[in-house]
């Protein structure tokens, strides 16, 4: 009994020290992420320097050839340009709309409760599922714009016009992206101490003034967070929408990098090319995230 007590009490300044227990506790997650995260990431880097043949046909070291092949392909640069455009428009709209909604919901109106519940529903709808719905809604002959097409034939046709197709993907992405941003921004607004808003009101600041001078500046950390998450998210989340709505077309108007990787790797079996693009996209995402964190240092969070 005494021995057991001693064993149980093996602590140093309130911290447990048992090494074996520690290893047992962290082992599951480490094995999981090693096997299914770090090995694939490492393998992608490895493959980008080799010419991999599909179906286990062997590999051959080719140095930087894969990179020069991918980077000299104008199709790749087009896809990159489209991805960047998409990454600016979709998160911008999603965060802007979420911010306005969050500011409105924060006012504690009768409608707020219902709105807070309903606005997060899209979070539970898969991109691919809502893509199936949106492709019908935007169908030039069957959807909501078909009356317009009856009057002006060919004005709206996402199957032929690349810009129309791109717009449908953006709308769907914004729809899917609102809930998460809304939740983060609303919780940020509600964490602002009442005292601050009230004292500003006593100083004669009206509602609009308080939004501009108190709520928005104090919301910077959450705004920053939403931008980081949305940027990374939109790079990959659009896949389900693209695959169900446009399959990258018409032409290649909606082929974003993530879709191109999928097509090159799993349809054309260009494993090295796909791995190289994966590596480039990973570097792109990491640079974006690090850039945003550098930016964060210039933002003041004092409350």
């Amino acid at each position: 009994m005494v021995r057991r007590y001693c064993k149980a009490g093996k602590m140093r300044q309130g911290f447990y020290v048992g090494r074996v227990t520690y290893a047992m506790l962290v082992a599951p997650i480490l094995v999981l992420i090693f096997l299914f995260f770090y090995v694939p990431v490492g393998l992608a880097f490895f493959w980008s320097f080799f010419l991999e043949r599909p179906f286990g046909g062997g590999s051959q070291f080719v140095g930087m050839q894969n990179f020069s092949r991918v980077l000299s392909d104008p199709v790749y640069w087009e896809a990159l340009r489209r991805t960047v455009v998409f990454m600016i428009i979709a998160p911008g709209l999603a965060i802007g709309i979420s911010l306005v909604l969050a500011l409105a919901a924060d006012r504690g109106l009768r409608l707020s409760q219902a709105a807070r519940n309903i606005v997060i529903w899209p979070k539970a709808v898969a991109g691919a599922s809502i893509g199936v719905v949106f492709v019908f809604i935007f169908n030039p002959f069957l959807g909501i714009f078909s009356p317009i097409n009856d009057l002006f034939p060919g004005l709206w046709n996402p199957r032929i016009d690349g810009n129309d197709a791109f717009a449908t993907i953006v709308v769907a992405q914004v729809w899917n992206g609102i809930p998460f941003n809304f939740v983060i921004l609303l919780s940020g607004l509600q964490a602002i101490p009442d005292m601050l808003v009230k004292s500003a009101a006593m100083d004669g600041a009206g509602s609009w003034r308080r939004i501009l001078d108190i709520q928005l500046p104090l919301l910077t950390p959450q705004l920053f967070l939403t931008f980081v998450l949305e940027f990374v998210g939109t790079v990959v989340e659009a896949f389900g929408l693209i695959d169900t709505m446009t399959q990258g077309g018409p032409g290649e108007a909606t082929t974003l990098l993530i879709y191109k990787i999928y097509v090159d790797g799993f349809k054309a079996y260009d494993l090295s090319g796909a791995a190289t693009q994966t590596v480039l996209l990973m570097i792109f995402v990491i640079v974006m995230v690090l850039l945003q964190f550098r930016l964060e240092k210039h933002v003041k969070y004092e409350r």
Partner: protein, 307 residues
């Protein structure tokens, strides 16, 4: 309410109404169309805002004519696995990181948090190769350390290439989705708010670390655990790219992939839109109900990191 601000409150009401309308519009359109029969839909020549009585017929069609019911079960199992793995593994690991004194703490925290930066969808190409043979790293180690050469030399045994294919299995689809360790971050924030004397008091009463974790920490953590569990369940349910390539047979695919496969039909023909809309609602109803009912718990549990 600080002062009476009718103007801005009226604006806010309008904004909220518009927001709800935008969110609900696709769902309402899907539902209205799902109540129509294919004949009605073709006759009307497209979208019509008239509720008709064929919703149950369409549901019956989905249940009898498509694989969606079985795929719904797949989705359920996969999402459950994703949520369980994410919560359980992160819980024990975060417990170790916060309540143990160990030199590896910083490294392990960094290694787990780094997974958040790169979503699985980015690395599907090579993840596919690993899941197609999860013992591949073991083969590499055998080769790299020269064990195969030694075995051949000393015992004359050829070390076989080990193979274990997890494609088309529940665990093979769920495990890579579960690698993103956001939970570690959330639980850590929560554990750090707990009083430091808690493990000390437990130790005085003779409880070791595992007992403390199960009997004291676990009951205290229900709020964030349930919230994250729901959240990852929904995340598993809605993931698409990885299940699309990891599950090659309809029997193994989750419902979202099954629905997308249904939707890719011959473009020349008017698609079975009412059935597709029914299908879209059919595969979304469980997670949407979950989020609608549990909204408060999910948001509160996820926000613990903010407070």
């Amino acid at each position: 309410m600080i002062e009476k601000a009718t103007g801005i409150d009226r604006t806010a009401t309008v904004i909220l109404l518009l927001g709800m309308a935008f969110v609900l519009a696709p769902l309402v359109i899907a539902f209205v169309t799902a109540t129509q029969s294919y004949q009605q839909f073709v006759q009307a020549g497209g979208i019509r805002f008239r509720i008709s009585g064929h919703f149950l017929d369409n549901i019956r069609l989905i249940i009898t004519e498509t694989q969606l019911p079985r795929q719904l079960w797949n989705s359920f199992v996969i999402s459950l696995l994703v949520a369980a793995i994410k919560c359980a593994f992160a819980f024990t690991a975060t417990f170790a990181l916060v309540f143990f004194e160990n030199r590896m703490n910083r490294v392990i925290f960094a290694v787990t948090i780094a997974t958040v930066m790169l979503p699985l969808e980015l690395v599907v190409i090579t993840t596919y190769q690993i899941v197609a043979n999860v013992l591949m790293p073991v083969n590499w180690i055998v080769k790299a350390t020269g064990i195969d050469w030694l075995a051949d030399r000393i015992a004359g045994v050829r070390v076989p290439e080990l193979r274990l294919n997890l494609l088309d299995t529940y665990i093979g689809i769920a495990a890579p989705i579960a690698t993103s360790c956001t939970s570690v971050f959330i639980y850590r924030q929560f554990f750090l708010t707990l009083p430091r004397d808690l493990p000390r008091a437990a130790a005085m009463d003779g409880a070791g670390p595992l007992r403390f974790m199960v009997d004291i920490l676990l009951p205290l953590s229900w709020t964030p655990l349930i919230a994250t569990f729901m959240f990852w369940f929904i995340g598993g349910w809605t993931s698409y790219l990885w299940p699309l390539i990891a599950a090659s047979t309809p029997d193994a695919q989750p419902a979202v992939v099954g629905l997308a496969k249904l939707a890719t039909t011959d473009p020349e023909r008017i698609p079975e839109v009412p059935m597709l809309m029914t299908g879209a609602l059919f595969v979304s109803i469980i997670p949407v109900t979950l989020i609608a009912v549990m909204q408060r718990q999910i948001v509160r549990g996820m926000n613990l990191s903010e407070k």
